[in-house]
């Protein structure tokens, strides 16, 4: 299966995937703050966050988005993706240090605009924590290669 990427024609609406879990660590948050430059107290000030409704530091929403993207690649055989072109996403609950999240995904739509080499695949995704709560969810639009002409 390694190296074999699934083409537009092979992907079916209704396919479902579930990823392994991933525990989000303090290190993930520190690295994401450093990479993005987003040093919001929500993610970086443990003492201040003790006084907040969250009670502790929480992960950047966009870190959760990055984590789900990696989990998607571990949930199913790779698509022959040409480009990631669209996203509609909701941040529903915080991810705290030590939370373990996994991705549940379902192919919700396919759209063929008649282009010879590619089509659009929409995947509905939910990022779920260890208590089964949906922390983030939304849809992603991927342009996927069609089968090569013989």
């Amino acid at each position: 299966m390694a190296g074999v990427r699934r083409c537009f024609e092979e992907i079916e609406v209704g396919e479902e995937y579930e990823s392994p879990g991933r525990t989000v660590t303090e290190t993930d948050i520190v690295l994401f703050a450093g990479l993005s430059g987003d040093y919001n107290v929500l993610h970086t000030d443990a003492e201040f966050m003790k006084t907040s409704i969250f009670g502790e530091r929480i992960a950047h929403g966009l870190l959760g988005l990055a984590v789900q993207s990696g989990l998607f690649s571990r949930a199913t055989q790779a698509y022959a993706t040409v480009a990631f072109v669209g996203l509609r996403w909701k941040f529903k609950a915080p991810i705290k240090i030590g939370d373990t999240v996994r991705l549940r995904a379902r192919v919700s739509a396919k759209q063929d605009d008649g282009k010879p080499d590619r089509g659009l695949v929409t995947v509905q995704r939910s990022l779920v924590n260890q208590r089964g709560e949906v922390v983030q969810e939304g849809e992603t639009d991927l342009l996927v290669e069609k089968r090569g002409q013989p």
Partner: protein, 152 residues
């Protein structure tokens, strides 16, 4: 003493801000892929979700204090053209909608990620819940408000 922040009252629909620029490097891409757990599709390509994080950081470098974000609620995004290592991006942010709630208010920002040629590479909307100035409690025992934030 409270942390300087831009509150709901300080924001008006139609406000436009332009961030400083940032050159995208292989290090940005490699760090992001390591953190996300993504494989490299093609050398030199910037992972599509990386600019979202980078522009939130660029937003922190505006001359005004960071937006007093209580929660990042949602994002709608379109990737219009690929970004590559060596491209230099900045972000143009415009307040599209502002709606007051009992506690805080919703601010919807239109964002454009613009490259060195002035072309929009990505665009979309961020929806934030932002604290009101009036609702700002003292830091000790505040319990609710988060100041000095830009995004969750």
């Amino acid at each position: 003493m409270s942390t300087p922040a831009t509150y709901f009252e300080d924001v008006a629909a139609g406000d436009v801000e332009v961030t400083p620029a940032l050159t995208l490097t292989e290090a940005h891409a490699a760090l992001y892929r390591g953190l996300a757990g993504e494989n490299a599709d093609e050398p030199g390509l910037i992972p599509e979700l990386l600019p979202l994080g980078l522009i939130t950081g660029l937003g922190w470098r505006l001359s005004r204090p960071p937006l007093a974000v209580l929660a990042f609620m949602s994002v709608e995004w379109k990737m219009e053209r690929p970004l590559r290592v060596g491209d230099t991006i900045h972000c143009r942010m415009r307040v599209a909608i502002k709606r007051s709630l009992r506690e805080g208010g919703v601010v919807i920002q239109d964002q454009e990620v613009i490259d060195q040629d002035g072309e929009v590479a990505q665009r979309g909307r961020f929806t934030f819940l932002v604290a009101k100035r009036a609702a700002e409690p003292a830091r000790a025992g505040a319990g609710r408000s988060i100041q000095g934030g830009h995004t969750t």
